[in-house]
Amino acid sequence: MQGMLYIALVFALVLGCAFPMGRYMAAIFEGRIKYLAPIENGFYKLAGVDPKREMRWTDYAITLLLLSVIHFLLLYAILRLQYYLPMNPQGIAGMSPRLAFNTAASFATNTNWQAYAPESQISNGAQVFGIVVHMFISAAAGIAVAAAVMRAFLAGGVQTIGNFYVDLTRITLYLLIPISMIAALLLVIAGAPQTFGAFVTAHTLDAGTQTIAIGPVAFQEAIKEFGTNGGGFFNANSAHPFENPNAWTNLLENWLDLVIGFSLPISFGIMLKDKAQGRALMFAMAIILALGCIGTYAAEASGNPLHIAAGVSATGGNMEGKDVRFGIPASVTFNVSATGTSTGAVDSFTDSYMPLGGAVPLFLMQLGEVTPGGVGSGFYTIIVFALLSVFVAGLMVGRTPEYLGKKVQAKEIKLAMLGVLILTLFILAGAGFSLMTKSGLGSLANAGPHGLSEMLYAWSSATENNGSAFAGLSADTPLLDYGLGSAMLFGRFAFLIPVLAIAGSLAAKPKLSASAGTFPTTGPLFIGLLIGVIIILGGLQYLPADTLGPLADQYLLNASKTF
């Protein structure tokens, strides 16, 4: 009961704020917010950007790719050279080429997969002027693409979808920086440190000393959640008391994590001047996520039967890998939210969740992260599913499908399916191949079906740009550094580019007005169809693998089989 109330509270706070936030974001996308105009225009001037220029989808894609490549190379250099760069009080050495590749790919794609232990493998400087900058820029780039996709539906016969440089700048200045600064301040008040000093040595009460890792935590923590990034300052991520000091900061971080994702459909409805369209997408996202939270809570609250039989109290739930100050409901809601988005932050360790509890985050990633998904990426992914839904509905009644007045034809459906299938290929072939190699098997921390879950989770997380892990996996190996690094790059760009192509193609089409024969894309019928398409098209292809992983794990555990 306590758990259900907590889940309801999180949804009420997030969905309640999504309406004003969505309005504000629509105003940013439309260029109506101007309070930092001097800084904004200064940026354009210094960078040689013409803010009035409108881009075709190809220009939009090329500028985004080019900026991402440059930023990737900069982070790679910073990670390799961190020993020689400022703000390295612990004297941490440079990363190896393969780990630096994996890490740079991870942050350039908004994934934030961490194959390194931050306390000992990355300097304060590399976190602050390397990783944190990517947390802003990769998030802003994702939201920019969402804004470009929205524009494709606004009018007919348009060749352009906005200006990438302008979108990136405005989203960073007016959305990401202000709110993450406020959140960072709240986090410091609650106890998250923010210092460039070295680790602290304490003389503990019960004889002995303790070295306490510390650093500029709060600033990173805020944008880590708000930009659905997820890369922790510490190895334990948001389970670490310095990243997440108490139940209230946990609630704040959970809110930050979800709010942009749920606000984007609202922004879309406002820009379309048809708010019901945005609400329909938002509710489809929310229903799937709520079911995921409730299911995971049920799995974790009842505890581990093997441990209860060994004399552990049955009332506490499965506490392995969870911290006391959060408890079960807040732990599971946080982790499920972070896999329904592309955040991948954790406040508890999914590897030690009950098999069905861990299956939910895995499945939410495999669905393509649309509940509500990464900032921007969740929105443009659910648009792909919406196009597929009207196509399926069109097939059933034998009419040319249209979505929001735009005819959906063979070209768009081919591009949409291309995006969906590329991701599936990477996840299933990548996990399958890894498990056929000695190196891959050597990375597993757990035996039996749980080992398969670990590898499947890693490839799902990398390809879907999530970044969370069944963290027992030893990920810093040549196979996984290069393999997962490539999966992150393909997962981001081999999906994003077809989506921009769809946007370009739809923008150029005339905008038809709705007729009596138009399939309505608001209301329960459409929401139900959309959820069905997401689960069937997004999820069904993974069911055989998931059956051999988490489902088999649960059955064997029920039969008291250990590994």
Binding site: V49, F129, I137, I212, A218, A239, W248, S313, N446, K561
Partner: protein, 201 residues
Amino acid sequence: MSIAREIRPAISLVVLFTLLTGFILPEAFTGAVQLALPSQANGSLLTLNGQVVGSAIIGQNFTSAKYFQPRPSALTGTDAKGNNINTPYDASESGASNMGPASASLLQSVQQRVASYQKAFGPGPVPADAATASGSGLDPDISRANALRQAPAVAAARHLDPAKVMNLVNQMAHRSFLGVVGTDHVNVLKLNLALDALSAR
């Protein structure tokens, strides 16, 4: 379009945003909170007789019978010879056991923890937080039920009235907000500091 034409704006924006979000804002923010909130910004350190004894929000290890015991911590490290050893509450690292729910070695650890807990604090089901390792490896808290179970044995080790120690636990306990946000728990370091103060009186 030509890609060459895009190189200047792309590089410039990367540089400008690196300056803004990687240098100016974090430096200004750090300076501001170091001035306004120095305690939290530097890790909420607790001092006793002028010496730092730990952080109020980071757990530390206690093994003596006269102290309340923290949760198991899964942190490991290497000793001087390069062997793997347990390093519970070593706050220069952090992390969980990552052992799966059907792990035989996890089950074995749980059985050992249950046995030693029951030996120290009496028979009966063991609170879940006492039998399992935390997510951070640095969990500063134990559940109130766990603390109350430990109280009589801690009181006996200090020759204190058990009721007094129970009372202290209840005084120091953090309560969940309306039963929805947060849990009933006690910060182990603060509790043990208060216990030392109580014994000294």
